[in-house]
């Protein structure tokens, strides 16, 4: 089971360097100022899979584009 946590983009490199971090190629939000990372163990402030799924379905992370 993975545990998820959102980081400001400036903190992503440090977070990925943790041995507990699963993420190798982060998913960023549309503004590219935050990324969601996953961990093998629970970390402070983490959310579960269900909560992470709900988060990334929000408008900060994805939006339909206008049809040409």
């Amino acid at each position: 089971m993975k545990h998820y946590k959102v980081f400001d983009s400036g903190d992503v490199a440090d977070a990925i360097s943790s041995p507990a971090c699963v993420t190798t190629n982060p998913r960023y939000n549309l503004a590219k100022d935050r990324a969601i990372l996953s961990f093998r163990v629970s970390v402070d402030g983490c959310i579960n899979h269900e909560e992470a799924l709900a988060l990334v379905h929000g408008p900060e992370w994805q939006s339909e584009e206008d049809e040409p």
Binding site: N25, I36, P68
Partner: protein, 268 residues
């Protein structure tokens, strides 16, 4: 005694590669994807008015939200991408193609999207718990009538006429939309088993051979054979690699996944 449903005696007779054919990737729908950029970079999937190609994917349980099965884009220029996706509107399931040439033009004459609802002839419910095979065949000739076809579980389900625009691609992802300069979104929570790319527009009979009654086969035995062929989690791949056992070796990579997301199931 059974070992994953295979008797010990029979198992011993199987080749190691065959015995590995028991696995798939279970994507989390949050950050998991399979990087296949080298496939797009090879140019085999360019929509350049000359190339013909086909992409096949086997999957199950993609959820009911809009989610991308596979997609391609280029590094420069917005709205230069295409994808195959699944979606639901209420109880109505849908599998569709979406393709852009630029910010104001689509790849199809009718617009960006060619979607097949489950109620249509040969439509499917993509999230019904069964394995499904979605095949897109393309003859990218400008204005080609019937140049774009969607086959669902071996049967023709949607046909589109090409517009006059073109596109070329550098990035490819399985399980997420990649668009507008390698940005990703609309991740799929699907289980994905087998993925293949052909450098020709397959006929209905050839697509039926891929479907093979609903069980994955070694597509290298088909004519034509795929130029890129992946059985995710199998073929002695050292995780997170996705080994290309097609006629051209171009490995992919499972991104942001652990070995626990290699699951012991596949279409059979």
């Amino acid at each position: 005694m059974s070992m994953h449903g295979v008797t010990k005696a029979f198992s011993a007779a199987l080749s190691p590669a065959s015995r590995f054919r028991e696995k798939s990737f279970k994507l989390d729908g949050v950050e998991d994807r399979v990087e296949m950029d080298a496939v797009a970079a090879s140019g085999v999937l360019d929509w350049d008015h000359t190339k013909k190609w086909t992409v096949s994917i086997w999957f199950k349980d993609p959820g009911t939200d809009l989610a991308t099965l596979w997609s391609v884009t280029r590094s420069v220029g917005n709205f230069r991408w295409l994808e195959m996706y699944t979606n639901y509107s209420g109880a109505t399931g849908q599998v569709g193609f979406r393709g852009y040439a630029d910010s104001t033009h689509a790849l199809l004459a009718s617009g960006t999207t060619l979607a097949v609802n489950d109620s249509a002839t040969n439509g499917i419910l993509p999230n019904d718990g069964n394995w499904h095979n979605v095949v897109l065949t393309v003859d990218s000739a400008s204005g080609a009538t019937g140049g774009t076809n969607i086959y669902l579980d071996g049967l023709l389900a949607g046909t589109g006429n090409n517009g006059v625009r073109q596109n070329d691609f550098e990035y490819m992802k399985v399980g997420a939309r990649v668009s507008n300069g390698n940005n990703t979104s609309f991740y799929s929570p699907m289980v994905v088993s087998q993925f293949s790319v052909y450098n020709d527009e397959l006929s209905a009979a050839q697509v039926a051979n891929i479907w093979a009654g609903g069980r994955t086969i070694d597509e290298r035995g088909l004519t034509p054979a795929p130029v890129h062929f992946y059985r995710y989690g199998n073929d002695g791949a050292v995780f997170p690699n996705a080994v290309d056992i097609g006629s051209v070796g171009t490995n992919g990579r499972a991104e942001n996944m652990t070995g626990l997301e290699v699951v012991a199931e596949h279409p059979s």
